[in-house]
């Protein structure tokens, strides 16, 4: 969900990792890159090789299906969050 959220704007792998790290979510490369490939295989992302600052970089973008999945995850997360708050509120 965090990756789909971050990909509201296009990112290449390293910039995505840094972006997530700066927001407090450290994801190692061994997890992030295979995850990006899985999400792409599921049609939630698309990627293209682009030349940026003289270097070839694979840039990821959220697809239409990714937008829908992101929205649904966001709603689920909010419901879970509310439920946890209610549980925590009722706990003595």
């Amino acid at each position: 969900m965090a990756v789909l959220e971050a990909l509201a704007a296009p990112h290449y792998g390293y910039s995505l990792r840094r972006f997530l790290g700066e927001k407090g979510l450290e994801v190692d490369e061994g997890t992030l890159y295979p995850l990006l490939r899985r999400l792409e295989a599921q049609g939630l992302l698309s990627s293209v090789w682009e030349l940026q600052e003289g270097r070839k970089r694979r840039v990821y973008r959220r697809s239409g299906a990714g937008d829908a999945a992101h929205q649904s995850m966001l709603e689920e997360w909010q419901l879970l969050n509310q439920a946890l708050h209610r549980i925590a509120g009722n706990t003595p």
């Binding site: 792998g13 890159y33 090789w49």
Partner: protein, 315 residues
């Protein structure tokens, strides 16, 4: 070639062919970005040791490449309990056969060194068990691939649930596992997939010339039995269809045994001794009681299953 390129090259060697170049290019691009970022923070180029430290943080090339492998286990987690159950019984079945053969060999040659025989037995059991382990792993790997390819679990529908009675009995998984292992082992043994005289053991069986004519029929019955026992293992509850199939299989089995009974000296037990080869014919005197015993067991089991079948019909 610099450190980063050497590292990428090493990772690339372990990547699946279809994504090899793509992943390697992305990895190198990521490493270059990381190196530049660190250099920018330090205000200078990274030293060799600092570059090697960066690579050390990334981990062994084999581990990095493993993250891109589509399936990272020979036996999937869902099938593992079943694999373990069958493996246990494969080893038990192999040990029983090896102990039986060793016992015959020792009884025939009492002057044999017992210590040496035990070492021999242990080695043969280990050797055959590894063989069985390899076959079982291969079968489960292929089964796992089939499950992945067909989305077996995802495509499951509640309509496929069996029609069983509320008091429906479960089939013992241990019983089904033993049945599967023994039947598969017998099939492999009969068709020379595993040696009939089992490695260095001097004990073996010789089949009469009539056997090849009956072998396709025996194989057909065994394959049907294996399919049924696998179905019992995967879906361990009795259904009317399963009972009917189980009972139907007794008919060809009894016919086959009856045909073998009519042959003169259908099988012979042979043994290599220091004096030469000894051979004992297994004729009607042995096959007769086996046939009678089988018919008795089949009859008792059939009565029990027919009762169960009728009870299900009433429901």
């Amino acid at each position: 070639m610099n450190w980063l390129e050497r590292y990428t090259f090493a990772v690339k060697a372990h990547l699946p062919t279809d994504v090899r170049q793509d992943v390697a290019d992305e990895l190198l691009s990521d490493l270059l970005d990381e190196r530049d970022h660190r250099a920018e923070s330090l205000g200078r180029e990274l030293t060799d040791d600092e570059t090697k430290a960066l690579l050390k943080e990334r981990g062994h090339p084999l581990l990095v490449a493993a993250n891109y492998q589509p399936r990272r286990a020979l036996v999937s987690e869902e099938l593992y309990p079943l694999f373990l159950l069958l493996l246990r019984w494969v080893i038990v079945a192999i040990a029983v056969v090896q102990i039986g053969l060793a016992a015959i060999s020792v009884l025939n040659q009492p002057e044999q060194n017992i210590g040496q025989s035990i070492i021999h037995l242990s080695w043969n059991t280990l050797h055959a068990s590894l063989y069985g382990f390899a076959w079982l792993t291969l079968i489960f790997y292929l089964f796992g691939e089939y499950i992945n390819l067909t989305d077996f679990f995802k495509n499951w529908k509640p309509e496929s649930l069996p029609r069983v009675t509320p008091q429906g009995e479960y089939i013992s998984r241990t019983g089904s596992a033993i049945e599967t292992v023994v039947t598969v082992y017998f099939f492999a043994w009969l068709n020379h997939i595993v040696p009939q005289s089992l490695f260095d053991n001097p004990v073996g069986l010789v089949f009469s010339e009539q056997w090849p004519s009956l072998l396709p029929w025996i194989n057909a019955v065994i394959i049907a039995s294996v399919t049924l026992s696998l179905s019992k293992l995967l879906f361990p509850y009795w259904t009317r269809r399963k009972i009917a199939l189980d009972l139907c299989l007794y008919i060809p089995a009894v016919i086959i045994l009856a045909i073998i009974y009519q042959w003169d000296n259908a099988i012979a037990l042979h043994m290599n001794t220091e004096e030469g080869i000894s051979q004992w014919d297994i004729g009607q005197g042995v096959i007769g009681p086996i046939l009678a015993g089988y018919i008795l067991v089949a009859s008792v089991d059939s009565v029990r299953k027919l009762r169960k079948f009728r009870a299900m019909k009433r429901e």
